[in-house]
Amino acid sequence: MLNADNIKEYLSEIEEALQNDFQRKTLDTFAVAYRTGRANAFSGMDIPGLVKDIARSKDDSLAEMDELYQQFKEKAQALGVHVHLAADAKQANEIIAGIAREHQCRNVVKSKSMTAEEIHLNVALEKEGMKIVETDLGEWIIQLRKEPPSHMVLPAIHLSRYQVADLFEKVTSKKQDSDIFKLVKVARRELRREYVQADMGISGANFAVAETGSLGLVTNEGNARLVTTLPRVHVALVGLEKLTPKLKDALLLLKALPRNATGQQITSYVTWLTGPSECKSSADGKKVMHIVFLDNGRRKLSSDKNFSQILRCIRCGACANVCPVYRLVGGHKYGYVYIGAIGLVTTYFFHGRDKARLLVQNCINCGACKEVCAAGIDLPGLIKDIHARILDEEGHPPRSKLLAMVLKNRRLFHMLLRNMRFAQLPFADAKARYVRHLPSIFMKGQDFRKLPVLASTAFRDKWKSVKPNVSRPKLKVGLFSGCAVDFIYPEQMEAAVKVISKGKSIAQDHPEKQTCCGLPALMMGEKDAARETARQNIEAFASSGSDYIVTLCASCAAHLKYGYPKLLEGEKGLEQKLKAFTDKVMDFSSFVRDVMRISPMLFRKTVQKVGYHSPCHLCRGLEVREAPRANINLVHEYVPTAEEEVCCGFGGSYSLNFPPVSRTLLAGKMANLRAGGISAVGTDCPGCVMQIRGGMARAGIDIEVKHVAELMAEQLK
């Protein structure tokens, strides 16, 4: 659980987490193993189709939450179940404590429930003098350590067998072996006794089926079967979003939940409870059964046009499994109660702005969570939206306001960029390639990589001299350079122009009035500025009459194509221009390979071994995977390296705000590239070039880092 009150404290907690070698190693192994496990579990299935079906099914259920609740309640009550609706955490805790009092229950056994964690149920019941024992092994371990879970599915993933053995020594007052199988048996035996003594069992539920009034529970250990069988009273705490109309809907979710969570096709146990069942420790031989539905903001959220999708979450934890930041810092520093990307989002709604403020800034926006989400939730988008919302509620910091102000005025922005070079020169190294040193306010924690100085002439100021003359063009390409290419790496766009000019009758244009794509503004929560730059770019290209809008920056491309429609949704009079614009946007590698169908005959292919770094916004944002690799292979020998699609740690302003994370991600990236035995690496994003090249230069590693356009242009015959 996050303790920090401000970003400085948060950064120091992150630095501390990065020193936790055991956790780092465990999460590394897990991240890699998870990919294979998941792929195997889904093998032969239509994943995008399944995700679409789940999203639709959940959206339909959310739209009729109140009706489903009524229907469920009637069905369950007819079977003899007591059904409650709690408005918030406090009320839910009171209801459950009341049930315990009414039935004179003192000893509770619990099976894992994130919803119970959400309302801090254990704390509330312990205040009533009750004894609560978690029976899921991982939950029991963290309960004994008085910690919150660090993962939704694997709550004790941050702990080693030695730590568990120490803990069990305290519980049993006996010396413990650190053998995992023995520890599991000890837990089995210790917990059996708790089931026998308990008079109340508390569970969550994964599904609440309205047509039959049934609850569905998904577990591997089977503890939920004992929790719902042995004690005479059973209380299920269920979020309202778990309601589904029919069993069919629940079975659909069940297809994805275990596969996406742990790479299992199904868990060992799935239990369906329809009304009270036989219970021989109860006076009348029937279980006393209560179901407490929890609102806690869910009803309001379910009708929110943008944020309702949060409630599609099936709690599989996959968003954490693939998150490069989670992998480094672990769940205790990457969430409040709910962790991972979904935790960053739900914290704001379930636990308030104070708990969410720092967390929402710690997203590098690599899109790995969105790609893996079983319910198709736009997690990175929602994280940005919540960040913007918090800024709107609390006031924007001066730095971000200044950026927004400058970005809205293209001439001012570009003038400042041009002048910045002169401001940088006194701090640049002899060849003026990298910033040698900067006053410490700019460079705190940034020295893990060398940063480039701005180019002496921006691409926009070179355009006239490099523009190819094409008589009677058949195709017109509008070049979108983006700030990094325009002002730092104009040579990348010059290379692209050279390559594109090899195509027959292709005219190229670089509209003067184009400006920053606006993604940096959005990343800082400045939505208005992001909208304004979007409008300016659409306008700039509308008058150019291009058939394609080609960019060298993966982040720009993904934002232009998929960010703009979201940002400018419903803006009157812009619909057609917007669509015409976004339809034309394409990344350089795809354009060259798929539209130009560039001939291998144009290049001198070498035997040099060259690797590839896959920019997040290219492979996941645009789903472009083959083209850049094929392009590299046209001119050199492309050699695959490990984890090509894992973020390099740049993330735009993220790397400035969270240098420890950026630094560690970069170190991992460089280690993987070095292990590949390559002499150069190509990538399709100037941001990734900046990060990886700067890291290589700082570490003195002799691997060249270039844009794929440069690699190609260099080998043109």
Partner: protein, 208 residues
Amino acid sequence: MQEEMVNTFTAKAEAVSAVVRKVSNMQQALEYAVKICDEKEACRLLLAGCELAVSNSAAELCQFSSGEKFIAAPGLDRDALTGLQALAKERDIKVVSSGLRKYASGLDMGLAVADLGLAETGTLVLECSSEDLRLSTMLCEINILVLPVSRMRTGTDEAEEELAAMMKNGSAYLSFITGASRTADIERVLALGVHGPLELHILLWEDD
């Protein structure tokens, strides 16, 4: 078609460490259960528990003398139960069919007949509104479930209507069981038998 389904079921169940065998009648299933029970060490949990460093109060949970073996079979029909008792008696194994709460420290074996099988995941569906049936499948070390092949379905899509009908018609407690009880909560190392059975044996009864 059915052969393919049986093959899929077997492969999926074996992939999660279940033991799958074919039997041609209930008598063979009973013989198999008794044989396995006879060959196993008496209540390994209790032995292990005695060896392992459990707390004193957890150790007291065991009220049976070491060496006694128990098969719980609360769901069997009268004929099958009589047959089982006869076979078990020869090997000095006790059969219990009710009052299973007393056996919370552990049973050697649970034996029951499943209601449905789901081939796509190697899953058994067991209607266990009876408390004893639930306990026999959870408290035992070896869980043996007999699945009549005629009750096998390709998966939840095909079985959905039957399942919904069971829920509507009084199945208060319906369990999908796939493999043994498992955990990976300590260092992601897979360990079987954390709360429930350490082993699941599935006997495919070729009933048609």
